[in-house]
Symmetry: C2
Subunit: 543 residues, 2 copies
């Protein structure tokens, strides 16, 4: 038994550092992203692999309220047999268990809740290899990417949410006292107590491609602000979140708390348990990552809850000019290829003027740019091993169907993955659809001003999570920044090196803005946590 | 011409102090609440009265986009002839003007916007007497109360919102730079810019009873977070907000900004312009104070906007025991009487056990308590001048109708205003209605535990803005605090002196919680402002 206060003491320094980093927004990371032996030790890799393999073909060891059957719904994109069976809870029992666990959680100080959360994150980090295998074999990410995005970066995003939640729940001091001067009398002295109280049962709905990275912010933000959390994974990517919930429950139990503060809610594919849970009157907070269709449905129908969604959009690149043409191509080729374009941040629409672009290697027409981008992709992916490490595998049939559909479009410049398709502004109906997967459009405009206009209009209407501009002109960059503010999207400028538009770093880059239809929240600013709790005061006279 | 930066420099010290005070939550006030000559000077009172009188019987001097006619809709509860005519704008023109004014407002630093807001507040304070007369003669508040609640306290609440908005829009630094270490290479150096961008056109819908106090938080929070604001007063209380908008427009013009960042939207009674504006796709933020019916309608129908409502509820007093019976009665009598109970914070339901309460003057049965409360009210209101200064006037026919209806109820203990009516738990259907006005119920329960149970259940279901407990027992106080956390309402304990349950102080007490149906927001915590803007980043390499 370790009390929540002891967990806080154990992690206090880390939490203080994380709060500072989240405020400063310079670069900081708590969990090393390198799967190197020199970082995690000699035994970590084989032990993690063994732990992962020991989970396969069995019932996953976790208690779930109301469970009477088990469910097995995962298929590895790498083709290995998973056959992990998870106890399937009953929605009413899950919610009742969450509510029953709430009072003792509310009674803790925010610091104590953050201490428990930090301990959960530390244990997730200790099992990072096991988690990486679980992510790889449910999402189709190459191992190193699964280790980084699904392991260290997800844990950093989780800690960022803990830090922001702790900062916001302690912003109004727990106790305050003050005197109001009275004309012709003694001052009125009052003592005030402020308590951050969670909104209610929280539901986190995971996605197929980034089950941990996209779920940890909501999970930890809701938890630290005083709410019990029901974690509902995508049927295709249960294992990484099952391990997560298992660890959370272990820590809660060790802290003398009810483990049902964090529960797992699985389903057979197509059962629709997410909709059932999301519209339950006692579910008051929802975090969702996934399709625009279900995200918009949640926003419209889960009216009893605050709903944080990350959906999809038209990630855009505006190419105007560059002083590092090769760097531009190399950088963009990697962004299009990474995880076969199955990131919510992968560029889809690349705008460039029909008159071509100025580069350090001379002017380039759209046709030349298309050919050069194709060559850069070929070069990046020419080595089969590097290609496998970059592309990973296609995650599901939905992506495969879109790839097939895109292959039938006119203007295919590159039919291998990632596909590149030539388009004109008149093809707006095509390129304003979201083509989640390794499918991008090279769209020829009349000018960079026209590109920016299309960028602004399409993103305002359809949303985007990322935008990238390449220009050597300070005026064009200034215009692009204004257009990005209008469109409500974060902007990267002239990325030609080791930073990629589809990657954001916790404690430094926000992810999503809330300002366009692609997302209603930003990971993780204050707005992402302040809706999850209320501050209740009591006051009394003191002498 | 004074630039926004110059206004910020002028008010920087005040703003820094206000940010500190809003964080510390001890007692602080920027605007003196005493209408004394020694505070505001010899000439302020007569000059303010003259300025007010000069407004009567004329067209109010203000420009309104799209105005072609004027509207006069106010009746003084004190019976004087007002006949102020206001230009009536067109909803589409108001919204178009607001949007056109936005880009230059977005381009300012948050500090510059806060500087402009602080200047507006300073000029409101300089016209506090004029505003007090305007509040008195539209709301029916006695002059001193109008001066305090409608003048100084409203200005303090406005400044509090400015402070919280400035703190939140600058929480993520405008620029940050950081290096990410690279294994076997130079670190990746990035520079990042963060910009707080307003959500869009904001609408503030004022109420009849506290047009300034309840409107200033939303008005200033939206403005400082980068949004243009359309102010739509209640038809019965236009003048205080017309003066406010006039001052805001003067300051904006002097700062070289488009005055249409703040506009006035009046209507003939019953025209429904609030609903038209509130459901316009370009209106993205709504602040509303008023009836539960229209507030709930807004929450359900203004889906394109974030909606902050303050509606109505069942403000509750739980009487268990006291060591200052006379103080309890005096304090409660004043709370029931102030502004004839026409505060959203006036106690409605008073629970006490049928077995009576222990006091320093011996045990008191419910019948004795009722008689003693009546006597305390008679004593407070026995002197006609003091009665007039406390009660003010009935604001409108709605309150008059409820008073008439309450008079026909069984169990009327005191038929003079404020009315006190005896009730039992079986009368729940009656006392769980909201009786806004000078109508309270004395409800006999089986025990204090029963009182707390009723408190918890009725407030969870119907909402409340205030709660008060009287007890000498630490256990009962602890139970009451838990019940208040369950009910989601702020709690006052054992108020027997000069602090009243129906008054909250800016920079110290929050008003409303969001945690029960009476309100979706709290004046003014971080959650009240973080939904009004987005933080957009751009990033680029630095060498």
């Amino acid at each position: 038994m370790t009390t929540p206060a002891e967990f806080y003491d154990r992690h206090r320094e880390l939490l203080d550092r994380a709060i500072d980093a989240a405020a400063a927004r310079d670069y900081w990371s708590a969990y090393p992203e390198s799967p190197s032996r020199s970082v995690y030790g000699e035994q970590a890799a084989p032990a993690g692999k063994q732990a992962f393999q020991a989970l396969l073909g069995r019932e996953f060891p976790i208690e779930v309220p109301g469970a009477r059957t088990t469910v097995s719904s995962e298929l590895s994109p790498y083709g290995i047999e998973l056959d992990v069976r998870y106890p399937q809870g009953d929605p009413a029992a899950l919610i009742a268990a969450a509510r029953a666990a709430t009072p003792q959680w509310r009674a803790l100080e925010p610091q104590e809740r953050a201490g428990v959360a930090a301990e959960i994150l530390q244990r997730l980090n200790a099992r990072i290899y096991e988690l990486a295998h679980a992510v790889q074999h449910t999402c189709g990410q190459a191992f190193v990417m699964a280790f980084q995005a699904g392991g260290a970066h997800a844990q950093d995003r989780g800690l960022e949410a803990v830090a922001v939640a702790l900062a916001e729940t302690t912003r109004i001091p727990a106790t305050a006292s003050g005197s109001k001067p009275q004309r012709g009398g003694d001052p009125l002295r009052l003592e005030k107590t402020s308590t951050a109280v969670g909104r209610g049962v929280a539901l986190v709905i995971g996605c197929n491609t980034f089950p941990t990275w996209n779920s940890y912010p909501g999970l930890f933000a809701s938890l630290v602000t005083g709410n019990p959390v029901i974690v509902k994974p995508h049927p295709g990517a249960v294992l990484p979140l099952a391990i997560t919930v298992q660890i959370a429950r272990d820590v809660l139990t060790e802290a003398g708390l009810d483990p049902n503060l964090v529960t797992l809610a699985v389903e057979q594919r197509g059962e629709g348990i997410a909709a059932t849970l999301a519209t339950h009157p006692e579910v008051r907070i929802i975090d969702f990552t996934g399709s625009s269709e279900f995200g918009s449905w949640l926003e419209a129908n889960a009216r009893q809850a605050v709903v944080y969604t990350e959906k999809a959009g038209l990630n855009t690149v505006i190419v105007d000019s560059t002083d590092d043409y090769k760097g531009l191509l190399r950088n963009l080729a990697f962004s299009l290829s990474l995880y076969s374009g199955q990131m919510c941040t992968t560029p889809q629409n690349i705008f460039l003027p029909g008159t071509g672009i100025a580069t350090d290697l001379g002017p380039k027409s759209p046709a030349e740019f298309g050919a050069d981008l194709g060559a850069a992709l070929d070069k990046l992916l020419g080595d089969p091993q590097r290609a496998a490490g970059t592309l990973g595998e296609i995650v599901n049939d939905g992506v495969r169907a879109r790839i097939a559909e895109a292959g039938d479009l006119p203007g295919v410049l590159r039919s291998a993955l990632p596909m590149v398709i030539r388009a004109a502004p008149s093809d707006e109906k095509t390129f304003t659809r979201e083509w989640f997967g390794p499918i991008s459009f090279l769209i020829t405009t009349t000018s960079t001003a026209h590109s920016l206009e299309l960028f602004r209009d399409t993103v305002r209407q359809h949303g985007a999570l990322t935008a990238l501009v390449h220009s050597t002109s300070p005026e064009v960059l200034a215009d692009a920044r204004e257009a990005a503010l209008d469109a409500g999207v974060h902007l990267s400028e002239n990325l030609t090196g080791g930073v990629f538009v589809n990657q954001t770093a916790a404690f430094s880059d926000l992810h999503g803005t809330g300002a366009n239809p692609a997302a209603t929240a930003s990971l993780s600013d204050a707005a992402f946590v302040t809706g999850r709790f209320f501050t209740l005061q009591s006051r009394r006279h003191t002498s």
